[in-house]
Amino acid sequence: MANIAGIDLGTTFSALAILNTIGKPEIIPNADGERLTPSAIFFDEDNAGLIRVGIEALNSRYLNAQRAVRWIKRYMGDTNYKKNIDGKNWTAVELSGLILKKLKQDCSAECGEIHDAVISVPAHFDEVRRKATMDAGTMAGLNVIGIVNEPVAAALYYAATREVSGKILVYDLGGGTFDVTIMEVKGRQMDIMCSQGDHALGGIDFDRKILEMLEKNYKDKFDTELIRCEEDRARYEDEAEDIKKTLSRRDVAKKMLYGPVGNMRVEITRRTFEEAVSSLAARTDILVEVALEEAGLEPSKVSKVLLVGGSTRMPLVQKRLEAKFGFPPDVAVNVDECVALGAALHAGLTMLRDHTDVVSAGIAGGLRDIHLTDVCNHSYGTICAPIEKETGRRIIQNHILLKKNTPLPCEVSQTFYTVSDGQEEVEVTITQGEDAAPEYVNKIATHRFKLPPGRSAGCPIKVTYRYDVNQRMHCKFEDLESGRVLEVDFCLDQDGRMSQGEVKQKGEQLELFKVA
């Protein structure tokens, strides 16, 4: 029986966990024996067919930074992002596929074939980024059976492995992204209340502040730039990360800077660091407050704050949370691994729901009684042309039908009306986003819905959106007078920018490269 796996595809590190014979998730070490694999890629200079992923790639970038790639997750779904190596433009999906290929390959060697997997994504990822993540998995030869939000995966692992109840706030500050999820836990029943995320806030942003301090110190002393090339940058990025880690343990971090015109010793205190990152810390505070407001909760109603992600080791994170909630956050869970472990549990639950027959009795027993109710990650709406009350003008507006954080499965219907006499078609647009202004939402599909000719304005069109537990959305547009219907189905493994054929083809191309 093939393994059921959960993968944390992180901005800085990735990890893979499988469910053992009794349904408990376990991290599988990579070929170097490490439980975490750096999400770094290096294209070998001497062997064009060889791509290094992990710690070796991280170190190789000191030698030739142009052939190295990091933090790909921040570009997921960005069609403009391209990394050109030896004439080939690598997309973020393909590069992520290489990391997943490495994880699959190493872990398969350790514990047997890895096939069915759930991959975690930040809660704020939109449909395009989720689909891109699934495509990356497919390219790596995985059967991606689902996507799970990172804080949900962490909370799932947390609630499944210890006795907890009440309203839990999951604070997930990772290498590149930050998510806050609030959930209600009653034994092994977990109901997500809301999720909020910041796509550009993570450990690397804190490292950059330290790097700026190093550059400024050097410039002040020598009146010249510390960093003159990408290789220098790679080296000092790691120095900055090291200083941040030191400051999580001590009040002062000391470093020698071996710059281009002279060396200098720098000392950075925790206090100066915390002052430098105050705007980043303010962003985390805001996100927590926004999530609490969305859930309609006062901080005093939160029973526990669960820390997830390596960046939560920074003392200022714990200090600020304690000040807000009045009790220290829970750091008992392994912050680096719990997302992968929770993703494996989620994979088990998905397999149990959709393919019960292939799940072993031991795993089924281990997952018994775990119930998870997820929510819509975004709002979904349609573009319409109502008359603005205050001006009396007809305006083009995004009208939200399915609100963010609605528990799944859910269905909602609303009736709209044609605007002109003789209108023979309606342009139906399905949107994702929270704004009323159409320019600020993403149009995920547009269709033309033909109507019978010769009718006056004001004909009712009923629009129904349904979202199921498998994150499949079904949209129905119904002309109530004629009975004509337009149905549009979305699901993460069907609709998106790349067709299944394209994904398969790209996967075959990846096969040509050796990942080590």
Binding site: V128, H199, R283, R393
Partner: protein, 399 residues
């Protein structure tokens, strides 16, 4: 130094009025059928039961928890049909005869249902049912229609002399079986449609110096800004039937205004905006603010002086701060601001306490955070910048 500008404004305004008068004549020629004279006031005639008589009373009526004024139309007298058991319908139209023969014109219907087939003139129709006899006599005043004044658009504000025309028609042939007329004087408290049209033209004329004032705020009238205002003026003043001479006249007036501002002269923008706020509906005030935002944007960046005057303009034009900021976000993104004004960009004002500032910043954060995954790279960049600014403002105002 105000005199040349006033002359310029007067010239612009006269130009617009001339254009307006032409368009009014056009409207009249469409509305009034050829060969029909404009209505004149009629004297109340003694009640003659052999013909149809009508009268109008003003009453109040509750509509959706609101009290509305209604014209109650009553009829009495005789209706002669061509046969027995004839089905009949009622038709009512209203003329405004306040200004006599050269009067203002018909009363318009605001709702399509109560408009004539080929014009906006008010036309009420209702089914009267079957006439019981060939000569149906209504011995008492009978209410046949209740016309909500909200359905009507009068030509002008103030005391209006109205002439009601009532017709009873054969439902089958459309032939008039009986008709009656009566007059009624009504005090209209809302601006009339001609008032609105004049106000609209006047507002457009007033918008031009306001826009030039924004352009001149930083003492540098960039060519792109001037061209934008000129182009706006030309596209918003109806020149479709104007002579070449009139077009040149407008061009000259615009050039004079540009020269006036280039010489360093100033206008009382506050006073002009207050005039606009008195006569212009919200939609038109939005249009003016939008024009001014585009003017500030035209040279690629907005100076502190331009941002200041825009902020003042929004207040003077009585545009809500949230609406002003949402317009600014679209037209003049923060990357174009030469200075970062937290009030303009984030809506945090100095009189807000810590808690209110925190709530406002959280609201802005939730809004911009939802935009960071937008498919448009410009929106994404703007959202990233805004999130950074919000975090900085949080450190500053909330701590």
């Amino acid at each position: 130094m105000g005199e040349p500008l006033i002359q310029t404004l007067v010239s612009l305004h006269s130009f617009m009025e001339a254009a307006l008068s032409k368009s009014l004549n056009r409207i009249k020629s469409v509305i009034l059928p050829a060969g029909v004279s404009e209505p004149v006031p009629t004297q109340p005639s003694p009640l003659n039961m052999e013909i149809l008589n009508c009268r109008v009373k003003l009453a109040e009526q509750k509509v959706e928890n609101r009290t509305c004024e209604v014209f109650v139309v009553e009829i009495c007298g005789s209706i002669h049909s061509t046969g027995s058991s004839q089905y009949a319908s009622l038709k009512i139209s209203i003329d405004d005869i306040t200004d006599g023969a050269g009067g203002a014109g018909p009363v318009h219907g605001k709702i399509r249902q109560w408009q004539a087939q080929d014009s906006p003139a008010f036309c009420y129709s209702a089914d009267l049912g079957r006439l019981p006899q060939q000569c149906t006599i209504l011995p008492d005043w009978t209410a046949v229609a209740r016309i909500n004044t909200d359905w009507l658009a009068f030509p002008r504000r103030g005391k209006r002399d109205l002439s009601f025309h009532i017709q009873v028609l054969s439902r089958d042939s459309g032939e008039a079986l009986a008709c009656a007329e009566c007059n009624f004087t009504y005090e209209n408290t809302s601006p009339g449609y001609i008032d609105l049209q004049e106000n609209m033209q006047r507002t457009k004329a007033l918008a031009i110096p306001v826009a030039f004032a924004v352009s001149a705020a930083d003492c540098r009238m960039h060519r792109s800004e001037v061209e934008l205002i000129k182009s706006w003026a030309k596209s918003h003043i109806d020149l479709s039937e104007a002579s070449e001479e009139a077009k040149c006249e407008l061009e000259n007036e615009l050039d004079k205004t540009v020269a006036f501002f280039r010489e360093g002269n100033q206008v009382d923008v506050c006073r002009i905006c207050k005039d606009i706020a008195e006569i212009a509906p919200l939609a038109q005030r939005y249009d003016i603010l939008e024009l001014c935002l585009y003017v500030a944007q035209a040279d690629g960046s907005a100076s502190p002086e331009e941002l200041d005057i825009l902020k003042d303009l929004a207040g003077w034009l009585q545009v809500e701060p949230d609406k002003f900021r949402s317009m600014m976000e679209k037209i003049l993104p923060v990357s174009m601001h030469q200075v970062r004004d937290t009030e303009v960009i984030l809506g945090v004002t100095s009189d807000m306490g810590r808690e209110k500032s925190r709530q406002q910043l959280n609201k802005e954060y939730a809004k911009w955070n939802a935009r960071v995954t937008n498919t448009d790279p410009q929106v994404r960049t703007q959202a990233d910048q805004m999130l950074g600014l919000i975090a900085e403002a949080r450190s500053q105002y909330v701590g």
